[in-house]
Amino acid sequence: MKNYIKTGLLAILLAVGGYSCSNYVDGYEVSPNDPQQSNPALLTTVIEVATFSHYSGQFARYAAMMTQHCMGVQAQYEDIANYNIREGDNVNEWASHYSAINDCNTLIDLAGDANPHYRGIGRVLKAMNLAITTDLWGDVPNRQAALGLQGEAFYNPVYDNQESIYLDMQNLLDNALVDFANANNVVLPGSDDLIFGGDISNWIITAHVLKARYANRLSKKDAAGSATAALGHIDAAIAAGMTGPSSDCNAIFPGDGNSLNQWYAFEANRADYIQMGEGFINLLLNINDPRLPFYATPDSGGVIYRGTPLGSIDATTSDVGAYFASPTSNAPMVTFVEAKFIEAEAAFRAGQLPRAAQAHNDAIKAHILQVTGAPADVAYEIAQASETAGSISLEKIMTHKYVALFTQFEVYNDWRRTNIPALTPNPNGETTAIPRRLPTPQTERLYNENAPNPVISDITLPVWWDM
């Protein structure tokens, strides 16, 4: 009997204990450190900042190294200069791009039909981030990408071919333009839109120029069609009010500790990892380009401009100049000057030589004014920016685009398409040719069943539009 009482008491004790134990731990499961919600404004800022990093960080430097604007002379950058590029090197960038794409999808959903301007911004930024991934890795996840929140079934996104991705990018931009044309918005972007402060007319221009850029990208696939399409988009940009650099889509760097221009931050953190390239400095010297003192610092002697030769690790040469690498320098992403060069190239390809020459001349003059603050001097203009239908050549257009788009990722795409300027591979290179892509990221090999198998390790293999 006594035992029954004891057992009964114990059971009651356990039951009461169980109830209150559960109560004791309830209410501490939600983090006080992070919110469970965001909104279109907060997402817009996040995505734009990520895009700034993507367009002016590692891949901008990588492009500069591949196109020999710069030379890597130390540590990891010596490796990049030597084409020593491995599957683990760019896993951070891969992840960062898809994180931005995920946030773009969230912004597009959250903005919804009620806030088409925010949705349009999300679509443009998604196209911009998707473009870098496919331009560097070729076929990449797209339609099944960034759906991880929906569960296990979406953990192995399939790889879409690059052709379809380019179609999707154009669709995104088309839809963005429809969004921008819709004036019915509950909330409008403002200062959270770091790039344009909510000025939708500039977003419209940017969307058109991007459409031109991505159309022109397919020059090797469809020379004529790509030219016609690109010119059409440039016309649309002009019709939308593009008159000069005031509508440029730039990465904005307020210059505080966590918002430093990334070329500056790199020079500060990794001094003497990269130097100006000899070929590029010599190109600027040869044409007596007024942009040189803006593009580069004098060498360590303090007087002359000198680049590091191919394969050398001389770190006493010129560094990237303050125009691009001051704490608060904007980094160009989609610009009027680029639009003009696209126009020149596409017009040239389409046989519209006067238009090509005019656009070429306009682009150079506009850029010199933009960089130096003064118009090009007469001698320079005569020598470099006075092309005619008779004198204009693809070589000239692409060489000047190569000069004007210094620090931009686009130069690597242009060089791959056109082989202009002609570059000699680094004699110390791991590969005998200049790399034309990145290897499949290590994390994809390990964690995505749908990643290419075997992985793509040959970094000289061209992507689809480069074939």
């Binding site: 898809y98 994180s99 500790g257």
Partner: protein, 1040 residues
């Protein structure tokens, strides 16, 4: 009148029963005169028993047919006494050194060691205090089987990590729970991490401290190392990794004063070997393949980190005129003062001990120090059936630390990369390490002069810690007592880091100051009852049941200012660029537990436990239901049962146990949150929020999971304890198999999903191993004793399962070139990096330039955990002189010698100096045609691309064996002959040497090193780690 009546009644009653039985009373005392409370008194062969009261008194009624009483008390020899004529029987219980050592187990319950069915090692507090270590955890090194202690460096306060039976979790804590006097004692090692810092802060910064540092080793009476999860039922999930049950010294009867004082001199015990032949510059170590000419000398170049320049003393190059031993000039002799005083008072009812300890350490690195002041009060008080225990401790620990690791302001980075032609003290400023304007005098603009850095970029910290607990026990009857205990562990850890203007570690050399305040509060409540049901026969049963409530809260406030206006003035108000971040975690666990210990005939012992836990970190379902985990253990003292001749085998026991512990997930993993990200490519400090005044929140990279389950640790263990020749040989052998299932992993998912990881129960990992302890007493004479204690540990760990499709997981972000991974089929924490490409015969494949090719895929290149370890203590005692030495042997344990690889490439190592006058042919086959390689390479290329760390070199080449044999401790003491004196009863002087001798093949600092320290689940990285120390300590102990 009333009293008279009662007495009459009693007499009447007893007279009535006297025919059948008699009543015996008496007092139980120990040999040293202490009354024994709660001792068991039984009538042999009858179901009658009682326990002694608080005065040690018992009263028992003995049936007429019985005439023997059995007295037993934990830790003392059980006695059977035949009854005589007297009805008063006082018994003095003898200690029995062989058969019943008492150990403190979970909840402070004292048990006879013989009754335990699982492995436990008791380390005497004297051995910890006597190690000369300031950190009690480091003082455990080499003293117990199953235990691995890994120090992180020789600077004051540098953390020491402790693992028992290896790693058991991928993401959770792997170190054992520390319990001090029944209350969990926090032993976190936390770095200061700004909310916008995107990298692993363990790789740079300073050597952080593990908070066991706040415990004064001199206060420790004993440490019981519980190796398996046997105590998890009573302490909860954290005990899954084993428990360090620390008992502090208690007051004794009478009045006593103890005083001890020591001074220690610390010196660097091992450094990388540097070359003294070639100065700063480039181009040296060249080789002309056409002519075969080797040119060791290069050209002087200013502002390069390379030492491939001209030969020292080359005429016409004044910059390389002399060589300087900068390492020698850098490190100082550290001094450690240690003073302790304690007062003990006590009578029959109340005992008190109050202690004060003061430690004052100046480090080997200039301007580093540690100051600890600690107070501890322990009280025990008995009033009738009520017993009250209380402890209160306060510690104040202050330190100044220097920059370490992968850090442009780091000590070893700037120092060992320094060209021998550069004089660290050659600046024209007032201090030698500076320029006239006070800036850092350096050879390469992005590295700080490490002397300048030590004085200008220190971290100063102060911890104020209060711990205490109160426990009351009420004994209702001889078969029931109830205890309640509440304990608090609270501290505030305030740190201030300054970087002078010009310091290179911050993203820009504009000066930085940050303040970081961490507060911790843990409150732990236990309410439990012990029931001793009477079973009769030879059975004894104790049942314990109770409730445990535990809450932990950590708060972290970080405020940083950059871009300082007034040089040398370190206040956030002096900065133009401010940032703050905050992190709070709060978690709660509630558990109900039961424990039943059944003994039969002093030889067979069975123990069963069970616990149900509710933890706040689970999803909704498991928060509601909780989760259960049990254990069972069995011990058989077969010498008792079989009645063997105790002159040979004096004691023999076999034991077996299976124990389980469930572990809750880390907080806040059930929900996918939005975060303010920082966007970085790894080469800059990236872009963060608020950005230009705008905040931003995007999806976190980690998916939340509502379906998290507990990690299950199941340990099977069998062992035996054999004592021969009356304690001359004491052998304890243990084998265990520890299976960890349902392990939570941050399962990496393809980043193309938009997320990088999800927390899921997928992992499985095993530890299996042997623990052997052997005690020998070859000579036991009155004035000459020789004792040997050896312990051997072998733990093999294997990761047996990760997530579906995942064979490798990066445990913690590390370097681009090397990481620490969990790989299926490999030990946890395997070093993962680039390997050389090999052909089917295992030969290196050599590229046309003479350098081996690298396998495009990275892989396992080493295991940072040892194959086995052994500690051997020899102690001699001879007419008051004691000599003891602890030899510590570690076999295996790989380290990534990233320091050596970088220094080879930069040309400052001795090898790169000596080997500069030749060309090299790397053995292997040509990539082109498979014929033997015949392309010679230059010394410069060899030391950069083969044994260096250029991108062409495989990291595999830089993995080195961290095996060692060391004389960890050597102590010579002398008990001064004391004249018969009323006051002084003991005086002892001693010398202790720490780490006086070290033998290892590792090229660099002492291989007992860890860049990531105790705050990290990974190890085996040496990248400009601080060196370790050896110490010469002289001390005095006095007892009054």
């Amino acid at each position: 009148m009333k009293r008279l009546f009662t007495a009459f009644l009693l007499v009447l009653l007893s007279a009535g029963m006297a025919l059948a039985q008699r009543t015996i009373t008496g007092v139980l005392t120990s040999e040293d005169g202490e009354t024994l409370v709660g001792a068991t008194v039984k009538v042999k062969d009858a179901q009658v028993g009682t326990r002694t009261d608080n005065d040690g008194r018992y009263t028992i009624t003995v049936p007429a047919e019985n005439n023997t009483l059995v007295f037993s008390y934990t830790g003392l020899a059980t006695q059977e006494v035949a009854l005589g004529v007297e009805n008063v029987l006082d018994v003095v219980m003898a200690t029995n050194a062989v058969l019943s050592e008492a150990v403190v187990t979970a909840l402070g319950i004292t048990r006879e060691e013989r009754s335990l069915g699982y492995g436990i090692t008791e380390v005497d507090g004297k051995a910890i205090a006597g190690s000369g270590e300031v950190n009690a955890i480091q003082g455990l090194a080499g003293k117990s089987s199953g235990v691995q202690v890994i120090g992180s460096g020789g600077t004051p306060g540098a953390s020491s990590k402790i693992l028992i039976r290896g790693n058991k979790s991928f993401t959770g804590e792997n170190q054992p729970l520390m319990v001090v006097d029944g209350m969990p004692y926090d032993n976190q090692t936390n770095g200061s991490v700004a909310g916008d810092y995107p990298f692993n802060a363990n790789l740079s910064g300073v050597n952080n401290s593990n908070r066991a540092l706040d415990l004064n080793p001199t206060d420790i009476e004993s440490v019981n190392v519980l190796k398996g999860p046997a105590a998890a039922a009573l302490y909860g999930s954290r005990a899954a990794n084993g428990v360090l049950i620390i008992t502090t010294k208690k007051g004794r009867r009478g009045v006593g004063v103890e005083f001890s004082s020591s001074v220690g001199f610390d010196q660097v015990n091992k450094l990388p070997e540097m070359q003294m032949e070639y100065g700063q510059g480039t181009g040296g170590g060249a080789y002309n393949a056409a002519t075969g000419v080797v040119t060791p000398e290069g050209n002087y170049v200013f502002n390069t980190p390379l030492s491939w320049g001209p030969r020292i003393g080359t005429p016409g190059v004044p910059e390389v005129a002399n060589s300087f031993d900068n390492l020698d000039a850098y490190f100082e002799t550290g001094i450690t003062w240690n003073n302790n005083i304690s007062v003990s008072m006590g009578n029959d009812n109340t005992r008190v001990r109050l202690s004060y300890g003061n430690t004052n350490q100046e480090g080997i690195v200039p301007n580093t120090e540690l100051k600890r002041n600690s107070f501890r009060l322990n009280t025990e008080s008995t009033y009738g059936r009520f017993k009250l225990l209380g402890t209160a401790a306060y510690a104040n620990t202050r330190d100044t630390k220097a920059q370490n690791g992968s850090n442009l302001s780091g000590v070893m980075l700037g120092l060992t990369r320094m060209p021998p032609s550069f004089n660290i003290n050659g600046g024209e400023g007032p201090n030698g390490y500076d320029n006239p304007d006070g800036s850092s005098y350096t050879y390469f603009s992005i590295y700080d002069n490490p002397l300048w850095s030590a004085y200008n970029n220190p971290l100063t910290g102060e911890v104020n810690r209060l711990t205490g607990n109160i426990m009351g026990t009420y004994t209702f009857t001889e078969w029931l007592d109830v205890s309640a205990r509440i304990g608090v562990d609270q501290y505030t850890d305030e740190r201030k880091q300054v970087f002078a203007i010009g310091a290179n570690d911050p993203p820009a050399p504009v000066g930085e100051v940050w303040e970081n305040t961490k507060t911790r509060l843990e409150v732990n409540t236990d309410i439990f009852a012990n029931v001793y049901p009477t079973l009769g026969g030879k059975f004894d049963l104790r049942v314990t049941g109770g409730v445990n409530l535990n809450s932990r809260k950590d708060e972290d406030l970080f405020a940083r200012g950059r871009n300082l206006a007034v040089p040398g003035f370190y206040n956030l108000g002096n900065a133009s660029d401010l940032y703050t971040s905050q992190a709070t975690t709060e978690q709660r666990i509630a558990g109900i537990f039961a424990n039943a210990a059944l003994a039969w005939d002093n030889q067979l012992y069975l123990e069963l436990t069970g616990r149900n836990d509710w933890a706040s970190t689970f999803g909704e379902d498991l928060r509601e239901s909780g989760y259960f985990y049990p254990s069972a253990s069995l011990a058989w003292v077969f010498t008792e049962g079989l009645g063997l001749d105790d002159r040979v085998l004096s004691f023999g026991k076999v034991r077996a146990s299976v124990a389980q512990a469930g572990r809750e997930p880390i907080p806040y993993a059930t929900i996918t949150y939005f975060t303010s990200p920082f966007v970085t490519d790894g080469f800059t400090d990236g872009l963060g929020f608020p950005y230009g005044g705008q905040n931003g929140f995007g999806y976190s990279q980690t998916l939340g999971n509502q379906n998290l389950e507990p990690e299950i640790n199941t340990t099977y263990e069998v062992g035996a304890n054999l004592i021969f020749f009356k304690d001359r040989i004491d052998l304890d052998v243990n084998w265990y198999l520890n299976k960890n299932t349902n392990l939570l992993v941050f399962r990496p998912i393809a980043a193309s999903t938009g997320y990088e990881q999800i927390f899921q129960n997928f992992g499985e990992m095993e530890n299996r191993g042997w623990e052997i302890e052997l005690g020998l007493k070859p000579i036991v004479k009155k004035n000459f004793q020789w004792m040997i204690n050896a312990n051997f540990t072998r733990n093999e760990n294997e990761v047996t399962q990760l997530a579906p499709g995942v064979d490798e997981i990066d445990i913690e972000a590390a370097f681009a070139s090397i990481g620490s991974f969990a790989i299926v089929g490999q030990p946890y924490g395997a070093l993962y990096a680039t390997r050389w490409l090999r052909n089917d015969q295992g030969q290196l494949v050599i590229r046309p330039n003479g350098i081996p090719a690298i396998d495009p895929l990275r892989g396992n290149v080493g295991n940072p955990y040892p194959d086995w370890t052994m500690g051997i203590t020899n102690a001699f005692s001879f007419y008051g002189v004691t000599i003891s030495g602890l030899l510590d042997i570690r076999e295996g344990g790989d380290l990534w010698n990233g320091t050596l690889a970088r220094l080879n490439r930069f040309g400052t190592t001795k090898a790169s100096g000596d080997g500069r006058d030749q060309s090299y042919l790397i053995e292997g086959v040509k990539q082109s045609d498979g014929t033997p390689n015949d392309v010679r390479i230059s010394a410069n290329s060899y030391f950069s691309n083969y044994v260096g760390d250029s991108g062409s070199a495989a990291v595999e080449q830089t993995i080195q064996d961290g095996s060692w044999v060391r004389l960890r401790e050597l102590t010579v003491g002398y008990d001064l002959p004391i004249p018969k004196n009323k006051y002084l009863y003991r005086a002892n002087i001693y010398f202790t040497g720490r780490n006086l001798w070290l033998s290892t093949d590792y090229e660099g600092v002492d291989p007992e090193t860890s860049l990531t320290g105790a705050g990290s689940n990974v190890g085996g990285f040496d990248y400009f780690n601080m060196p370790s120390t050896k110490s010469f300590i002289f001390g005095l102990n006095l007892g009054f």
